[in-house]
């Protein structure tokens, strides 16, 4: 089985989400060819994650319609029966177009390897799993960020230049506003997240949240009421109508754990809940719990992590 993996890059190197896509395809038993656009240092790291070859398009593309044409042409040129992309911002816009172009069935945000023609994904905001059958000749799959580790250690991949017909652009990027200046990992890709809710009583108290996050090299998040009241920016809101995350560690302080909030975080590997109310629903969804005041517990926790060295 041959797989074409779309490999997003930054500064010439594959992004973590891109490496996860390549590594996933390798775990499915495929011979993996990666497609990279724009500046690329050597193979961009694709070989180490399991790609045998990189098709390199010299110019970068902004319009996902054009990226989808490049991916589809590459898949056809390689005779790939599987196309994998990360289920992130770009992948969500590229992969559905590729599926249409290749007449392929698509399964988004998978959480397991493709076995035969069946693959597993989470549905109902993580409250159930679905085993989905793909009966088309070509199968398009997007990988949930941070659901699969990246197995490194493969040999450097051969790089071939590739010049697909991508047509006219229908979309252009005219600006970018960074959500944070501290360089922390964006929430959907974060491995550790420290989150807080109304229990913090006001935006001026977020220092203790940020301090713990910095100490843990974690990204900060918040509950919906907190973003609705303007205490924290919208992009930090995790939950049903905000962002869905899947970190290794999710620490929630002063959040009761309403079902709408849990829907966005219940796929975290380990959940720690800190709340003054011993009856808070979050304790039913958490792995570890502390009944206590966030104003006292968070600074002590920060100290304890620092003492780990």
């Amino acid at each position: 089985m041959k797989c074409l993996a779309y490999l997003p890059t930054q500064d010439g190197q594959a992004t973590k989400a891109g490496l996860e896509a390549v590594s996933y395809a390798k775990k499915c038993g495929a011979d993996v060819v990666a497609l990279a656009l724009g500046p690329l240092n050597a193979d961009g790291g694709a070989g180490s994650a399991g790609a045998s070859k990189v098709l390199h398009v010299a110019h970068d593309l902004q319009d996902e319609a054009q990226i989808a044409r490049a991916v589809s042409e590459a898949a056809k040129a390689e005779g790939a029966s599987m196309v994998v992309a990360p289920h992130n911002y770009v992948g969500r816009a590229v992969a559905p177009r590729v599926a249409v172009r290749l007449g392929a069935g698509m399964v988004p945000g998978v959480t397991g390897v493709l076995e035969g023609s069946t693959v597993q994904r989470n549905v109902f905001s993580g409250k159930a799993m679905a085993h989905v059958s793909l009966n088309s000749e070509v199968k398009v799959i997007t990988t949930t960020p941070n659901a699969f580790g990246v197995e490194l250690g493969g040999a450097e991949a051969a790089v071939e230049s590739f010049d697909p017909e991508v047509g006219e652009a229908s979309l252009k990027v005219t600006g970018f506003k960074a959500s944070s200046s501290d360089g922390s990992v964006p929430l959907p890709e974060a491995v550790r997240v420290v989150s807080a809710g109304r229990g913090l009583k006001g935006p001026e108290h977020w220092g203790i949240v940020e301090e713990l996050a910095t100490t843990l090299e974690a990204t900060t998040a918040c509950s919906r009421p907190v973003s609705d009241m303007g205490w924290r920016p919208h992009h930090e809101h995790v939950g049903q109508t905000g962002i869905t995350i899947r970190p290794d560690l999710y620490i929630a302080a002063g959040i009761s754990g309403a079902i709408q909030h849990l829907a966005g975080v219940n796929q975290s590997k380990v959940i720690v809940a800190i709340n003054t109310d011993p009856e808070a629903p979050f304790f039913k969804a958490a792995d570890y719990g502390i009944v206590g005041d966030a104003f006292e517990v968070l600074p002590k926790l920060t100290e304890a992590v620092k003492n780990l060295g």
Binding site: A65, R97, P108, S133, T174, L249
Partner: protein, 246 residues
């Protein structure tokens, strides 16, 4: 401006999740269905705001069976002019997108809006497929949307921040939080919705890509281990030695 808004029904967030028929079907028994929040709060309301500012019409489209009609009436009560329901049981994104594209293809729509995902299947796929099938531009995960001089100007979620983009029309836009504020239908809207057109059309041939073979409930969560508030170092030790994530 002619705007089409894709509306799905979804089980209310607090619904008990269970399956029937050998775990192949969602158990609708006792489940309250709502308009998928991303479709209602963001896509539909922004469409109405654009119509109010610039004129035109807002039509909703749904792929579903007759049990969708109550949520379609809700969308009409909020302010859509008319509704189309393609009479088919939605089972796959490619099927849904191809049915909508077949119907909308010759409808002369300038803009097609959909929520960024449904809260049951969480796929985030139909919008992109629709754009490809309709040969339209696609703005995914948009947090704001304007139309000026025949060009879509939007901001969208991107890695590490928000991107401003411009896209040609016709355009498909998937709506994320921030695009609009939820509107509660008033009594006048609810009354008017009863007589607004809800056109049920038979489903033509659809593409089919993937089918759910089986649903499964996740294993029950173990007990939450409680740690005294005076001993955060014990939590840190457990995270390192037991959970092995520090």
């Amino acid at each position: 401006m002619k705007i089409l808004v894709c509306i799905s029904k979804a089980p209310d967030t607090t619904s008990r999740i269970a399956f029937t028929e050998g775990d192949t079907q969602f158990d609708k028994n006792g489940v309250q269905f709502i308009v998928n929040p991303y479709d209602e709060w963001y896509a539909l309301v922004r469409a109405l705001e654009l119509k109010e500012a610039q004129g035109g019409s807002v039509t909703t489209i749904t792929v579903g069976e007759a049990d969708c009609d109550p949520v379609i009436r809700k969308a009409l009560a909020i302010g859509a002019d008319d509704a189309v329901r393609i009479d088919a049981n939605p089972t796959d994104a490619l099927q849904v997108a191809s049915l909508i594209a077949d119907h909308a293809g010759d409808g002369g729509y300038d803009l097609v809006l959909c929520g960024k995902e449904t809260i049951d299947h969480n796929g985030s796929v139909v919008g992109g497929m629709l754009a490809e099938l309709m040969n339209a531009s696609f703005v995914s995960l948009a947090t704001s949307l304007e139309v000026e001089g025949g060009v879509v100007k939007a901001t969208r979620e991107a890695a590490g921040g928000l991107e401003s983009v411009e896209a040609s029309m016709p355009a498909v836009v998937s709506a994320a939080k921030g695009m609009a504020e939820q509107r509660i239908p008033n009594m006048r809207g609810i009354m008017a919705a009863r007589t607004k057109p809800l056109n049920v059309v038979p489903a033509g041939d659809a593409l089919q890509g993937a089918t759910v073979a089986k649903f499964e409930l996740p294993p029950a969560k173990g007990e939450c281990k409680m740690i005294s508030a005076d001993q955060p170092e014990e939590l840190v030790r457990l995270l390192r030695e037991e959970a092995k994530i520090l």
